[in-house]
Point group: C2
Chain length 135, copies 2
DNA sequence: TAATTGGTTAGCCATGTAGCTAACTATAGG
DNA sequence: CCTATAGTTAGCTACATGGCTAACCAATTA
C-alpha cells in the first residue's frame, strides 16, 4: 500500500508535464514507435527519450524493441490507479458534503420550526460537484 | 482550454508529492488551520507552508486568514478537472479496446468458419480495465 | 561493404523544488 | 504592556528536471 502510494508520486509527476500528457493521449489511440511519437514535438530526440523514460518508470507506458525500432504502448493499470485515487477522495468529500447538507437542512428545519412553523423549503445548499455515481 | 491544460500541469505537479496528497486527503474530511494540518508532519513550518502555497497556486486549496490563524479548505473544482482528464483518456482507450476486441472476435470467427465450422467460443480477449460505466 | 535510419549514451547547463535556520510581524491572553 | 502563539519572509543548500549537443551503436538498405 505504501508502495502503491509512492507509485502515485511517479504517475502524477509524469502527468504533470504537457509533453508527457500528450504522449499518453496519443498512446490512448494506439501503440506507436518512438519516432512517430516524437514527430509532433520540436525537441531533440534525447530530450524526448527522457520523457518516454519517465513514463516507463511511472508504469504508464511499456515499450519493446524489435529490430531498431522501439514500440510504445499504454499500460493502463497505472492510469486507473491514479483515477481511483481521485474517486476515493471524491467519495470522501462528497460524503462530507452530504452530511453537511443534511446538517444544514436539519438546521433550517429547526429554525423554521422555531420561528415560523411553515414554509421550510429553502434551496441555498447547492453542492458544487455532484457528478455521476458517487458509489 | 489551453489555459485549463496548463492548469492541469499545476494540479498534477501538486499531487505528485505525498505530503501534499496527504494534505488534500485531510482537507477532504473538512477544513483546518495551517497548524492543524502541519502537526502530523515532522517538517519545519516554512517548508510546510511552501506545500500549502503550491496547493493554492494549483487551485486545489483555498485559504483565508482571520485573526492570526489561516484556515484552509479544499476547492474541489481543480480535483474534478483532473479526474475528468482521466475519464476522458479512459473513454478513448476503452473505445479502442472495444474496437480491437470486436476485430479479434471477428477474426476468430472467420478463422473458425474457414477451418472448422464449429466451436468458435474462445475467451482470449480479457480487457484489463473494463470498470464501471464507460459512459 | 558503405551509407542511412532509429535510437541511445554521455555530459553539459539553467531552472525549479524541497528542505533547513534565523529573524520578523501580528494577534490573543494574562 | 508583556509574552506566547501562529504565520510569514528572507536566504541558504542540495538535488531533481528539462532542455541541449556530440558522439556512438545497431539494424536496414543500396
Amino acid at each position: 500500500m505504501a508502495n502503491q502510494l509512492s507509485h502515485l508520486d511517479q504517475v502524477f509527476a509524469a502527468l504533470a508535464d504537457p509533453t508527457r500528457r500528450a504522449i499518453v493521449m496519443r498512446l490512448c489511440a494506439g501503440e506507436a514507435s518512438v519516432g512517430e511519437l516524437a514527430e509532433p514535438f520540436e525537441m531533440a530526440l534525447p530530450s524526448f527519450m527522457k520523457h518516454i523514460h519517465v513514463l516507463e518508470l511511472s508504469g504508464l507506458v511499456q515499450s519493446e524493441k524489435s529490430g531498431r525500432v522501439r514500440t510504445c504502448r499504454l499500460s493502463p493499470e497505472a492510469l486507473v490507479g491514479a483515477e481511483d485515487w481521485f474517486q476515493h477522495q471524491r467519495a470522501i468529500w462528497e460524503a462530507r458534503l452530504d452530511r453537511f447538507e443534511a446538517y444544514v437542512i436539519k438546521l433550517k428545519k429547526e429554525r423554521a420550526a422555531a420561528k415560523r412553523p411553515s414554509k421550510a423549503t429553502d434551496k441555498t445548499t447547492n453542492k458544487p460537484g455532484k457528478r455521476k455515481g458517487t458509489e
